[in-house]
């Protein structure tokens, strides 16, 4: 779990749009058809196999291998989903935390105080992104981490507004006497 400061609260967790994982899902879906295509090709090139595989024992064996292929694809899909789900931009009342899961054995975490934010840019480019409302958020800061770039965020304009609200609230908390 992420370690938060004592009185730090999570305001929002922005994840990637579902379209990102749907690409992996479609790929897995296509791979599910691979055994059927393989069988059709085998029977086309080697018709003698048809006689062998018509026997009930071999039908059972083929079903076994097909089910095992589905198990492997199911696990592969969930690995991809875990990778997708663990990429998250966390907005707290103190900072931004960008968590990027790369494969299963690498995790990059970048955090920056809200007070260091200088500029936020949202980029939604392309027909799919425009229609489905997802895009990239770029946060420029004054700190050591010069820039935070998060790809394929769902509803990026709303996330930008949330970050700006959190920034204003943080400024008000740090400088209570300051009037806008």
């Amino acid at each position: 779990m992420l370690e938060l400061h004592e009185d730090e609260k999570i305001l929002y967790e922005a994840r990637k749009h579902w379209f990102v994982i749907s690409k992996a899902g479609t790929f897995v879906g296509v791979l599910m058809l691979a055994p059927i295509i393989l069988v059709i090709l085998l029977f086309s090139f080697f018709p003698e196999l048809l006689a062998i595989f018509s026997e009930p024992k071999f039908i059972a064996a083929s079903s076994f291998f097909a089910a095992s292929w589905l198990v492997i694809l199911w696990v592969i899909f969930f690995v991809a989903w875990t990778d997708y789900y663990l990429d998250v931009l966390i907005i707290t009342d103190r900072r931004l935390i960008d968590v990027e899961q790369i494969g299963l054995f690498r995790r990059d975490i970048a955090s920056m105080p809200l007070s260091n934010i200088q500029d936020i840019t949202v980029e939604v480019a392309g027909v799919t992104r425009t229609l489905l409302k997802f895009g990239d958020i770029q946060v420029q800061t004054a700190g050591q981490t010069k820039e935070l770039l998060v790809h394929d965020v769902a509803n990026p304009e709303e996330v930008k507004q949330l970050i700006m609200s959190a920034y204003s609230a943080d400024k008000a908390r740090m400088y209570p006497g300051l009037k806008p």
Binding site: F58, A60, S63, F64, V71, V75, T82
Partner: protein, 75 residues
């Protein structure tokens, strides 16, 4: 191409070995994913739902594998 190697004995052994391989792949990757789900901020409610979907589907598929093995040996 000669397919005489596709005997009942060969396929029986192949099924047994392949079952163990699939179990190993499933066990290792599930263990790693479980670690990630618990460690990295998936909420308790989402975690329960996630585990239900994942394990129920996996059990169903493994059930089909076991049934087909039994059918294979009983025919």
């Amino acid at each position: 191409m000669d397919f005489e190697f596709l005997t009942v004995e060969f396929i029986s052994k192949a099924m047994a070995v392949w079952f163990l391989v699939v179990m190993a792949i499933f066990g290792i990757l599930t263990g790693i994913m479980n670690f990630h789900w618990k460690q990295y901020g998936v909420s308790e409610k989402s975690f329960k739902k996630l585990k239900t979907i994942y394990y129920n589907t996996s059990i169903t598929l493994f059930g089909i594998m076991i049934v087909t093995i039994l059918v294979y040996y009983l025919i």
